[in-house]
């Protein structure tokens, strides 16, 4: 044998020995969870990877919710989509109407042969991500709702009882006045203003936000959030803003940081903020249900869901889908769900997980941790089941913009809401036209 053939045959031997057949199938998961929530996601992936050898979930942080959705869409257009994409609840209608891009979770679970019972999921949570024909389209992952946090130390300093949070909006205004008198520059603020003060507010009082069951019944839905109750509430907030009792701290969740830092004493925000508050607040804090107007019949009803769900993208090899089903099975197990719920403040998505958390005494040891759950585990009505609209992100931005004119003193509550409804309806008409199936 000459030199060349020895070299060539050793290379061939080396390739033959380096057999990659036993490597785990990689499942790409793109998500938008940063900070402590990002650590939670990584721990979930690690827990699943350590529990079996066939699949490896790789979790990648892609930025905010809109950035993650945009990245997922761009990747899909380039033929390079991830296996699992976390999409916020506002993008649900967009994902639902893109029939070729996703594979319904119900189908993925059924095809895999793994046990899957849609009825084991909390209806207020899973119902949002279910098609009208009953098929579950995406897997609820981090579902939150709107709750009320307050600074107990600031309450004490203002002469308020820290064990009695304000339950009605009138009480909130009174508490804010006392807090301001005791030197608090920011008595009350809110995060995600459209979600907390209009969407969840409407469901909490059993009034409709949009026609056709808030959009659940079809794309010919139109907005209705300029009704008398919503106008009254925005006017109340406007009055509070004029007196410095309500301070606007920006769009989306920009106000979130102002509560754990002690800058604002009361905030309506996502249940998912609890993790950051636990970690960073250097004062005694309390958790309470969303305030309501006690003279409205039927209030308090239930609040609407926030957060995100996991969508399965199409065009992947068959063994990837088996891996995805296996991962979803792991995520839905009562132990994993209960641990996630305790850690993050997000809702448990199965009733079994809720019961497990209850029997473990967690709610008794941590008063306030069941507030979010109690607001959601109720019988829903047609007007409170949830809001599913097309072009919802633009509609929320329109609401942000019109309300900013109110806080800046440039518009009155009724005029601003009317304008928001009119501009929002244009978005709904456009969505209806573009999705005429």
């Amino acid at each position: 044998m000459n030199r060349t053939s020895i070299v060539l045959s050793s290379i061939a031997l080396a390739f033959g020995l380096a057999d990659p057949a036993s490597a785990a199938t990689e499942i790409q998961w793109w998500h938008a969870m940063g900070g402590p929530l990002g650590e939670w996601v990584n721990d979930l992936a690690k827990g699943f990877n350590d529990s079996q050898k066939d699949y490896k979930v790789v979790a990648t942080f892609k930025g905010s919710y809109p950035e993650t959705l945009t990245a997922g869409i761009a990747a899909f257009r380039a033929g390079n989509a991830p296996d699992i994409l976390q999409v916020f609840e506002v993008g649900t209608a967009t994902m639902m109407s893109s029939k070729g891009a996703i594979v319904p979770v119900g189908k993925v679970m059924k095809d895999s042969g793994l046990p899957f019972d849609p009825t084991s999921y909390v209806s207020a949570v899973a119902g949002y991500y279910t098609a009208p024909n009953g098929q579950m389209l995406s897997m609820p992952f981090n579902s939150s709702t709107t709750i009320f946090y307050y600074n107990k130390d600031a309450f004490k300093a203002a002469g308020l009882d820290p064990a009695k949070p304000p339950a009605t909006w009138a009480e909130v205004a009174l508490a804010a006045a006392k807090l301001k008198a005791s030197g608090q520059a920011c008595p009350f603020t809110t995060s995600w203003i459209s979600w907390t003060q209009l969407e969840s507010f409407s469901a909490w009082h059993n009034v409709e936000f949009a026609t056709k069951g808030n959009g659940m019944g079809g794309t010919d839905t139109r907005l209705k959030f300029n009704g008398p109750l919503q106008v009254r509430h925005i006017q109340d907030l406007e009055n509070m803003a004029k007196q410095g009792l309500f301070v606007y701290k920006g769009r989306d969740n920009k106000a979130d940081a102002t509560f754990p830092s002690g800058e604002c004493a009361m905030i309506t925000a996502s249940a998912g903020l609890l993790g950051a508050i636990k970690k960073n607040a250097k004062f005694d804090y309390g958790v309470a249900p969303l305030p309501y107007y006690q003279d409205v019949p039927g209030a308090p009803q239930n609040t609407v869901i926030g957060g995100a769900s996991l969508w399965v993208m199409s065009g992947k090899p068959a063994d990837h889908y088996k891996g995805v089903a296996s991962f979803f099975n792991y995520l839905s197990s009562p132990e994993v769900q209960s641990a996630s719920h305790k850690r993050t403040g997000y809702l448990p998505i199965t009733t079994a997980a809720f019961k497990l958390t209850d029997t473990s005494g967690f709610y008794k040891q941590n008063p306030g941790s069941d507030v979010a759950v109690n607001q959601m585990i109720r019988k829903t009505t047609d007007k409170s089941r949830g809001i599913r609209l097309g072009n919802f992100l633009q509609i929320r931005t329109i609401i942000d913009e019109e309300l900013e004119q109110v806080w800046a003193g440039k518009a009155e509550a009724k005029a601003a809401l009317d304008k928001a409804v009119q501009r929002g309806n244009e978005q709904l008409e456009r969505f209806q036209a573009a999705n005429k199936s």
């Binding site: 893109s98 701290k249 931005t397």
Partner: protein, 295 residues
């Protein structure tokens, strides 16, 4: 009779080969995206690109009937005028001062050039941290002085913030060109004028400024294009187009409609309109303003 010396390039393919890399870059990074934008502006697509529909000029009709789009024309005009004029005036001032300084001239020049290396988004965040109504150092100082500053809710405050950040970033670029321009003015002209009794102010307006006019014209074109396009990062980081839509310049609206609202047809239509505007502005500048430039 003097023979005119003409340089002839004998090779037939070498010129093309030398120009090819640059042509390729321009082709890939300008012409291809521009063609794609024009194509998408006459289509209506869903977010994932699965269904595509030809809609002719419907996207253009839709954007022009949107009052917030018309309003953003006005916002962009105000913004770019403030940034271009403000930037040029300020950097000219600094260049004139830096030209006269003898001690520590290098230090001043280095410090004035540094901001150019800062990425636009970083510049936006920097200024946001200084001027944010809750946590900004400068906001704190302004409040202590009794000036109310709230760029979250006050449109003028928000516009001031982005104009300041945009001018700050561009000062270095303008400064460098003005400094070079000042250095190229023959000292003998200035001295002659001084001997004739012209005061500094007079010398500046009758000698220095006219001789700087090629530089000023060039910088005017560059600054307008900068204000139209490169300020996106600053605006997104500092105000996100708010409050309301009061600082949503045209390029910001293109980004928002394309990437957040996922309305690719409308966003592409706006890009085409924006491209047409800047091309027209540049042509106007070259045709009319250039006449006033003394070379």
């Amino acid at each position: 009779m003097a023979v005119e010396k003409r340089v002839v390039f004998r090779s037939a393919w070498l010129p093309w080969a030398l120009v090819a890399p640059q042509a390729l870059v321009i082709g890939i990074f300008f012409f291809w995206p521009a063609a794609q934008a024009i194509l998408q502006s006459v289509q209506q697509q869903d977010a994932f690109g699965i269904s595509t529909e030809w809609v002719g000029f419907a996207n253009f009709e839709r954007i022009f009937s949107d009052p917030s789009y018309i309003a953003s024309f006005k916002t962009t005009a105000i913004f770019s005028l403030l940034v271009a004029v403000g930037g040029i005036v300020l950097s000219l001032l600094l260049a004139v001062f830096a030209d006269r300084v003898v001690r520590g001239a290098l230090a001043y020049k280095t410090l004035l050039i540094w901001p150019y290396a800062v990425a636009p988004a970083v510049a936006g965040v920097l200024w946001l941290f200084m001027f944010a109504p809750s946590i900004g150092v400068v906001s704190y100082g302004l409040r202590k002085m009794g000036i109310s500053w709230n760029s979250l809710l006050n449109a003028n405050d928000a516009m001031t913030l982005i104009v300041l950040a945009a001018i700050w970033k561009q000062i270095s670029y303008n400064f460098l060109f003005f400094l070079a321009g000042l250095n190229s003015i023959p000292k003998s002209l200035i001295e002659a004028a001084a001997i004739d009794g012209a005061r500094p102010w007079r010398r500046f307006w009758t000698i220095v400024f006219p001789l700087l006019s090629p530089t000023t014209f060039f910088l005017l074109v560059i600054n307008i294009v900068y204000a139209f396009f490169d300020t996106f990062g600053i605006i997104d980081a500092a105000t996100e187009g708010g409050p309301g839509k009061d600082t949503a310049v045209l390029v910001y609206k293109v980004y928002y409609d394309g990437f957040k609202a996922l309305d690719l047809g409308g966003s592409a239509a706006q890009s085409v309109v924006l491209m047409a505007i800047v091309v027209t502005l540049t042509v106007i500048q070259f045709r009319f303003v250039e006449k006033k430039v003394n070379y």
